[in-house]
Symmetry: C2
Subunit: 208 residues, 2 copies
């Protein structure tokens, strides 16, 4: 029995559609009446775990799911031991530094040393500012990071930007990108090694 971990939220619909094309039909998870977190595929050969974004690599790393689909941003932030198998191309967005439009900052290195930067992705932000040799104090927030510069808790933020609308609505502009993110197929390394072909078939179909 193959178990796959799927992230609730923005990536779910396209994730299900990719698995359908690869022979595993988890369409039932898209049923608005579905309340189950563990959903069998229609063929009965597999099941999906419906979990939060950040938990996908956890279930895959521990082997409770052999495969999973999750954004590259989550993989970069949490660095779990999972095999990166396929860049699926959808769910595109970028991790960016953003500041108040009227701040006048044009790039990340314009930020004053020791200023505060708010983010849900403090590991990514730490790595980025370390590479810039710019010491900043990171403030970890769990949501609505765009409030940071407005309330004054932070001079800038590091956050995912898709359309840029949230930034605009809050008078912020992005001034530098850390990296691009798309949805990725990941796998449990041991399960892939012991695989007798079932996982390989799915992975190969996902590649095409």
């Amino acid at each position: 029995m193959i178990t796959v971990a799927l992230a609730k939220g923005a990536l779910l619909k396209e994730s299900v559609s990719r698995f359908v094309s690869s022979g595993l039909d988890f369409s039932d998870v898209l049923d608005p009446d579905n309340r189950q977190l563990m959903v069998p595929s229609r063929c009965g050969k597999a099941r999906a775990l419906l979990v939060r974004n950040a938990d996908v690599p956890v279930y895959v790393a521990y082997g409770q799911a052999q495969l999973g689909i999750v954004g590259y941003d989550v993989l970069r932030e949490h660095q779990m031991p999972v095999a990166h198998l396929v860049d699926l191309g959808f769910g595109g967005c970028r991790m960016a530094v953003a500041v108040k439009e009227e701040s006048g900052y044009k790039r990340a290195s314009d930020l004053p040393p020791h200023c505060r930067v708010a983010s849900k992705f403090t590991n990514c932000a730490r790595e980025f500012f370390d590479a810039l040799d710019l010491p900043v104090e990171l403030v970890h927030l769990t949501g609505s990071v765009e409030l940071g510069p407005i309330t004054g808790i932070a001079e800038g933020i590091v956050d995912l930007v898709a359309t840029g609308r949230t930034l605009r609505d809050n008078g912020l502009i992005s001034i530098e990108d850390l990296f691009q993110s798309t949805a990725r197929l990941v796998g449990n390394p041991l399960a892939l090694r012991l695989d007798r072909g079932d996982l390989k078939d799915v992975v190969e179909l996902m590649r095409t």
Copy 2:
């Protein structure tokens, strides 16, 4: 201008009602059409920041909000430097260890050494199992922790239990409580010290 941090979610309605009784009317945050994260009080003398649970003590600790209402569970987990002012009594729940009903475990110390325990509250769980002298491997999940024992990623979980329905629906039972949690009024220590009476008035009215 007083700024208060309010947690979105289960505590919001009662939090607003307590502030109304204390003279700060943030009823507008309960308007289902409200999309703003920073909402002025009707009297114009204060404003509310609408943030996620875990971010309330962050905004209060950094002084962007002078007061906030948040569950004791969050205060225990994150240990931010905020003053605990009033136990407001509502939002009661308990932090508990839960296992599969058929596991046969009767208390936390029955769990096998080095087993895995999943939780959103890994600091609370760490402290609890350290005090028990029971070495466990903590698996940090960000949501749907009740999936842990079902998928086999963990033998038990540490999670908030209010009515117990989520546990029952997933074949789990709680076997030991870590602590009880209720909503608390917290304050920024420096703001309280510099206060000329405005904050004190609100705090006193909250106490009654």
